[in-house]
Symmetry: C3
Subunit: 265 residues, 3 copies
């Protein structure tokens, strides 16, 4: 049988010993667990970026994997820590909404448990590092076969996350840049389903204050170098790129920049 | 039985093939070994940062894990390479003092062996990459069950590391910033034991040249945004943070900045 | 028996969910596979840097490891995706030449297969993320024991990569900086074999426009701080360093900077 897998997604950065400490705690409880880094470079305390990351990483994993997420601006306050099972995915995560994007497709099969059972925590618990002292040990115990129900109490309310704005009006579909990847591609929250319903692909898009003419392509390489292109990205939303270039730089755009897909008469 | 675990902590950075080469060497000798990255982003040749990292990462790991550390400004000189067993922790590390913080709690159970047995090294050994050619193969052989005593000769002297200054005087406790994490929190070397002995929590701290009034909290979230707070950090020392902000930027502090906890009355 | 190992080398960076998605896809097909990160910090779409990385990482791995490489400026165009077996090394890689450095030593035992069998791909295949949708699943199927011949058709032509220039003339050996590591060391493409044939070690080197006097050493630590030194690096080529300093900064050199080893008399 395959060994249990625990993934880590944090905003700890790479110089800090925090992620290493979590790995040590996990292996101390379950030496068989395999720990896989997803990212430790979520921008500090940026819940929206954490949500985007989880939305585009977790669904590709098989069932039984346990995803530990530590982007936790409220550490040490009264905010809860949760075990979440949504569809086939399991997460251990602070109650700050960054995981709720994963529940949209699976409301019917959602279990949320507030972690209360100190027996599965490190002792003592520090006030500022619940990732190491609560979430990591809880994940390790789960990976040993502990029933999630034993970790705490089922809850039916949790914190939501204000999602990026998305609205349809007379001019077209208005959304925003929700991620800029290392290639400078602008990933928006405008769904492919909207674009495929258009009679013709969009030719003009407003990025921030700027009106931009774009070539509609299926992939980056279909246009000449420097051309601004529009396409459906690998995550299923509208994406703006510059062939062999950097759209974020060229269009002076960043996360949060409003994007309007102009629909012609 | 769980597979043997080897961790890597280096200053190689992420673009270089050096850490990858070490992983290949380890797997070539022991395909069962599990290699876990702790960090490859220790600042280049910064032994104090390496020491801080090890101090706050290694103790969380279970016994039997082998920690390979390659922060090695003296590579290729006469400096020794060591196998260290301190308490339940095993390290393979250059003789430069970065590991000695781990020995403070465990002097009684300390074994240090200078690596001399070429049979456990790659051949030929390059003059500039002992991590790949000596430490990685030694770790892999250990993970196969080789007795550490066969790697070389027991030594009773090794290089120390000048630790950050810490002194008590009429004004209070004077230490320094020993780490700035990715949140901008200032972690000092002033121990929690000192703080808990005070009649009242400190209200004023001097950071560099600057006198700073602070609110004493148990965790970041207990003060309003922008407030400078003092607390005991997750590593057990005095830490200065700014609630929902960045203390390093706001107080113009960095590693090495002197910190004085002012004691009143 | 050891579990199958799949390594990942990409230019995705650390903030993006792309590498995480690939890990999920692999584990979904083969939960036993062990996924090892080599680097996700290859400079975006930089094939030469990818080639340098592979050249100095892959040869250290044992046979049977599967190396997935996603530096893919041509994603979605007609460029092929390849399975390559060169000597004992297996790669899954876009047909852009970044792997061909590994074939130089092993032309006799080279198998190249163009991936055509959709049965081993995710469905549907996105136009912009073949790493996730084709290479990762192909690697996972291989790790389950699928015969590479079933992935596609053998090809005998592939894209090459223009390598860095290297020429011998009256003045000496002219090459270039092919990598600058995190220590600022300048790694050139001038082979050690050339240097050892010289009557005396080189004393002067031209780096860009600058004539530099250097001390020939075997390792960084043999010269006083700030001294410019020349040596044979751990990858077997001529390397310029500054003892306890940063040669790239001190000599204003970067990747691609021409280097002339001046041969006297």
């Amino acid at each position: 049988m395959a060994e249990p897998v625990i993934t880590l997604t944090t905003d700890f950065g790479l110089r800090s010993p925090y992620a290493a400490a979590m790995k040590g705690v996990i292996l101390g409880i379950n030496p068989q667990a395999r720990v896989i880094d997803l990212s430790h470079s979520i921008p500090p305390q940026d819940l929206r970026q954490a949500a985007f990351f989880l939305r585009h990483a977790v669904p590709y994993f098989p069932a039984d994997v346990i995803h530990v997420v530590v982007v936790d601006p409220g550490v040490g306050t009264e905010r809860a820590l949760l075990y979440v099972k949504t569809g086939s995915h399991q997460l251990l995560v602070p109650d700050n909404g960054c995981w709720t994007v994963l529940a949209d497709q699976a409301r019917e099969s959602l279990t949320v448990i507030r972690l209360t059972q100190l027996a599965y925590w490190r002792c003592p618990v520090s006030a500022t590092f619940h990732g190491r002292d609560i979430l990591a040990p809880a994940a390790a115990h789960l990976s040993l076969g502990v029933d999630p129900a034993r970790l705490g109490v089922v809850v039916t309310e949790w914190v939501g996350l204000e999602t990026a704005s998305l609205a349809w009006n007379a001019e077209g579909m208005r959304g925003e840049v929700v991620f800029v990847d290392d290639f400078g591609n602008l990933i928006t929250n405008i769904p492919a389903e909207f674009l495929v319903r258009l009679a013709t692909p969009p030719k003009v898009v407003q990025v921030g204050e700027r009106m931009v003419r774009l070539s509609w392509v299926e992939t980056y390489g279909q246009a000449g170098p420097g051309t601004v292109v529009g396409l459906v990205g690998s995550g299923g939303t509208f994406e703006i790129a510059v062939a062999q270039g950097n759209a974020a730089r060229q269009l002076a755009a960043d996360m949060g920049t409003p994007v309007l897909v102009v629909v012609e008469g």
